[in-house]
């Protein structure tokens, strides 16, 4: 499957909570209709700080967090498609609009609602990830605690070894955290998923747009998604997990966490696509 993350900064006219409503509400209502989309999750940064949520543990597990990190994003979407071709052709009119003569095409889907200029500040930072599903997530019928770890590779560790060690020794230790409902590790790739997806004149392709994106990319190399029922489970499990800090020192130049509120706009379906419209 092709998994793409798009980090966004809210428009200056919106508060963080107003941005939530606009992204989760109107924008997701179009995004979920993108042609051939197989999964769509939106993560909005939680209102409470990670220090408030994790307590003293937050300081103990954080190293080298870049200043002003939260100024670079308010949320990010996670899109899943079967292929790069499907992703690049997703923003086309969707034939799902009912009319007096049957089904019609809706051109608004091609623009994902057309609200980008008022929802965002600048273009999304959009990139493909390769994922390691260490524990497949199973979502209950209640809001669960999603924690995200941002990790930067140590400069003296080659990229392939970094990925191998993180997916190997490190993931095995993380999998043992009591109460874990799901664990997915994502590595950013250099595959171009912005050209042919955004308009050529988009802010992303200006010098300033590239500079701010590169600054963001310079702060981390891997994003790990953790799902628990509640934060106390992570605090207890991580506090009891001897050896993780040693491994993190060996692997990461920086490591820090954020809680996000997850909206499942399209529950990812990793099985083959049905032969009919399905979300």
């Amino acid at each position: 499957m092709l998994k793409v993350f798009g980090f966004v900064r809210r428009n200056a006219a919106l508060t963080h909570d107003e941005y939530r409503a606009a992204h989760v509400g109107y924008h997701n209502s179009y995004g979920r209709r993108l042609n051939n989309i197989r999964g769509y999750v939106l993560n909005v940064r939680a209102n409470a700080s990670i220090a408030a949520t994790l307590g003293p543990l937050a300081g103990a597990v954080t190293r080298g967090e870049p200043p002003g990190f939260d100024d670079l994003w308010d949320g990010w979407g996670q899109l899943v498609f079967d292929s790069l071709d499907h992703y690049l052709s997703a923003k086309t009119p969707a034939r799902d609009k009912p009319g007096p003569n049957g089904l019609e095409e809706d051109p608004r889907v091609a623009a994902v609602g057309g609200d980008g200029p008022w929802l965002y500040s600048g273009s999304p930072f959009q990139f493909m990830v390769v994922e390691h599903v260490a524990i497949p997530v199973r979502r209950p019928e209640r809001k669960i605690f999603k924690l995200v770890q941002f990790a930067k590779r140590r400069g003296d560790l080659p990229e392939e070894l970094f990925r191998s060690y993180v997916c190997g020794r490190y993931a095995v230790q993380l999998q043992r955290l009591a109460g874990l409902r799901g664990l997915i590790i994502n590595f950013r790739t250099g595959t171009d998923v912005m050209h042919r997806f955004f308009e050529p004149g988009a802010e992303a392709f200006t010098a300033d747009g590239k500079a701010v994106r590169d600054r963001f990319y310079g702060t981390w190399d891997a994003i790990t998604e953790f799902w628990f029922d509640h934060p106390q489970q992570f605090v207890a499990a991580r506090g009891a997990a001897a050896g993780l800090e040693v491994l993190e020192t060996e692997l990461f130049a920086a490591v820090y966490y954020r809680e996000v509120d997850e909206t499942v706009a399209v529950n990812p379906n990793r099985a083959p696509a049905p032969a009919f419209f399905f979300r």
Binding site: N11, A13, L14, D17, E18, Y19, R20, A21, A22, V24, G25, Y26, H27, N28, S29, Y30, R32, R33, G39, N47, A94, R95, D96, K97, P98, G99, P100, N101, G102, L103, D106, D115, W118, L119, P136, V137, R138, R139, P140, E141, R142, K143, D261, T263, V264, A265, V266, N267, P268, N269, R270, A271, P274, F276, F277, F278, R279
Partner: protein, 290 residues
């Protein structure tokens, strides 16, 4: 929570698969923004008939299925709200769209297309026939959804008339549901009794002069409701997993015995469940959340 099933028949201009796209795609882009909605799935009957997949198990677990049951509907949304008041107020506009000047109520948000997705009524422009039924839910086994499409089977059942409603509900919950929950491979089981008041979900949500309150509306709803008194939602990895689980003795004999004792009719419909708003049964957060 306040739960409503809305059985809906497709517009005659649409095939079943086109109806899927119109309902799950365009329509849900509107309805997922209903104010205060706490959970929302759309269940569309599967294209392949279930009978052949059940094999020789079928005749032992299906009794007196009403003929033409699937002619009444193509899909049914299941929606969750915090209260009857929240349900009635669901179509009040709230700001969910970023526009020039900030967050606004979406001026394009409308239900006007409903008559083209569902069974529109030419003499009542903008309206469509529906069977919105309030369901009284019991969580037999909490549902957990993986990141792949689950098989969802809906067991419709009708109370044996010799049992009072109170005895029937008690026995179904105490005996039958407990046996169902022990089916191996089950990923969730929700048991729903239809509110004896067939108008409960219409009143206040639709205008009093709407089709639901017409002679035809009352008559059709009476007929539709006469077919079942409740429905259980069962989640498995596959139909084969259900068949294998349901065959297992002595559970099979226990369930068959209870079905004969409690139900005058019981049958299954496989549905493709589209998750529009992942149900959140925890208290609502203090911010916009779906």
């Amino acid at each position: 929570m306040y739960k409503v099933f809305a059985f809906l028949k497709r517009n005659s201009k649409l095939t079943h698969n086109e109806y899927r796209a119109a309902h799950v795609g365009y329509h849900c882009g509107t309805s997922r923004r209903l104010k205060g909605i706490r959970g929302y799935t759309v269940n569309v009957w599967a294209n392949a008939p279930l009978g052949p997949q059940l094999g020789d198990l079928g005749p032992t677990i299906i009794r007196n299925e009403p003929s033409g049951f699937l002619d009444w509907w193509d899909g049914f949304p299941s929606v969750l709200f915090d209260s009857p008041a929240a349900w009635v107020q669901a179509r009040e506009g709230e700001p969910t769209r970023a526009m020039e000047g900030g967050l606004k109520i979406d001026p394009d948000w409308t239900y006007g297309h409903g008559m083209y997705v569902f069974d529109g009524i030419p003499e009542r422009p903008g309206e469509f026939r529906s069977h919105h039924l309030r369901m009284i839910e019991h969580i037999v086994m909490p549902v957990e959804r993986p990141e792949y499409k689950l098989t969802k089977l809906v067991l419709f059942f009708k109370r044996r008339e010799t049992l009072s409603e109170a005895v029937f509900e008690r026995r179904v919950l105490k005996d039958y549901a407990a046996a169902l929950a022990s089916l191996p491979g089950l990923s969730g089981c929700l048991l729903n009794f239809r509110d004896p008041d067939p108008d409960a979900a219409f009143r206040g949500y639709f205008a009093d002069n709407g089709w639901w309150n017409s002679a035809e509306g009352h008559s059709m709803r009476r007929q539709f409701c006469s077919q079942f008194d409740g429905a259980a939602e069962l989640f498995f990895d596959s139909v084969d997993a259900f068949v294998s689980a349901r065959r297992s003795a002595p559970l099979h004999a226990l369930l068959c015995g209870l079905e004969a004792e409690l139900f005058s009719a019981n049958w299954y419909v496989e549905v493709d469940e589209n998750i529009i708003v992942m149900p959140n049964r925890n208290p609502a957060p203090a911010f916009y959340y779906r």
